[in-house]
């Protein structure tokens, strides 16, 4: 009987792809857990430089004053709805950029919610918010 040499079967070359879909689904789970698909809502505002603000403040810039539960616009106390109506009647969007500024003054106790609503109303009316900062 002739001698038959034992040959070890060599594995086929190639990248093993069996676990590709498992890896892919693990990556999907990672992305689902770590990301947010929530749409961001808000408004954009570019606060004017302080020098411009001071210059404009000397002239008749419309000013809104916020106290804890009180809104005063051009020296008249009003609700947020009346304030929005007043801004709409001023047609800020049609004005020159330098005349769009509405100064926002508030007491130190004013919370961000009230401040935000006023800023959002000014931005929605086409105005530019100017923040009045207190000098030390």
């Amino acid at each position: 009987m002739p001698f038959k040499p034992f040959r070890k079967k060599r594995p086929d070359g190639g990248v093993p792809t069996d676990s590709f879909s498992d890896i892919a689904f693990l990556l999907i789970i990672f992305f689902i857990v770590t990301t947010s698909l929530k749409r961001i809502v808000g408004f954009e505002t570019e606060l004017p430089a302080s020098q411009e603000q001071e210059k404009k403040a000397a002239t008749e810039t419309p000013t809104v004053t916020l106290k804890v539960n009180q809104l005063t616009f051009m020296k008249a106390e009003m609700s947020i709805e009346d304030f929005k109506a007043k801004l709409a009647s001023m047609k800020l969007a049609d004005r020159k950029p330098s005349e769009k500024v509405v100064l926002l003054d508030a007491t130190m106790e004013t919370d961000y919610q009230n401040y935000y609503e006023v800023m959002a109303a000014i931005s929605a009316a086409g105005g530019v918010v100017g923040i009045m900062t207190e000098t030390k």
């Binding site: 892919a24 689902i32 947010s36 961001i40 809502v41 606060l47 130190m108 961000y112 935000y116 800023m119």
Partner: protein, 134 residues
């Protein structure tokens, strides 16, 4: 005849889903920061900004999820992060603040963003109508 679910294209479908999530998602950098968001009626969808500044319910300031100790440091970091002052889209800074934070907390931050050359994208939640404030 063997009856089985065809699984040949499962990998392709999975990779397409990965690409979808990578393209249309933002990483939740501030998921650990606790705050009660503001809401308003007059707000609309805005573009996501590269830089985000958050003030949480304990009045702590965060820049891109990192705690910042003081406002001058925040201003310096924003200035460095906004190299292209001519491009308005590159100057967008997302600002989120707790609804009960007082002016003495958020005003210096708004001022710092503005003086560093940033355009403030004030983020809140859309309220359906007037009088529904939380």
């Amino acid at each position: 005849m063997d009856i089985s679910v065809p699984t040949t294209s499962m990998g392709d479908i999975a990779f397409l889903l990965i690409i979808f999530f990578m393209v249309c998602s933002n990483f939740a950098k501030e998921s650990k920061i606790k705050l009660k968001p503001t809401d308003a009626v007059d707000i609309k969808a805005v573009e996501n900004a590269k830089i985000s500044v958050v003030i949480d319910e304990a009045s702590a300031i965060y820049l891109d999820g990192q705690l910042i100790n003081d406002v001058p440091t925040l201003k310096l970091l924003i200035e460095n992060a906004l190299p292209d002052k001519a491009n308005s889209k590159a100057r967008m800074v997302m600002f989120k603040c707790d609804r009960f934070a007082s002016k003495r907390v958020f005003e210096p931050v708004l001022d710092a963003i503005a003086s560093a050359g940033g355009i403030i994208v004030a983020v809140g939640e859309k309220r359906a109508s007037e009088g529904e404030s939380k």
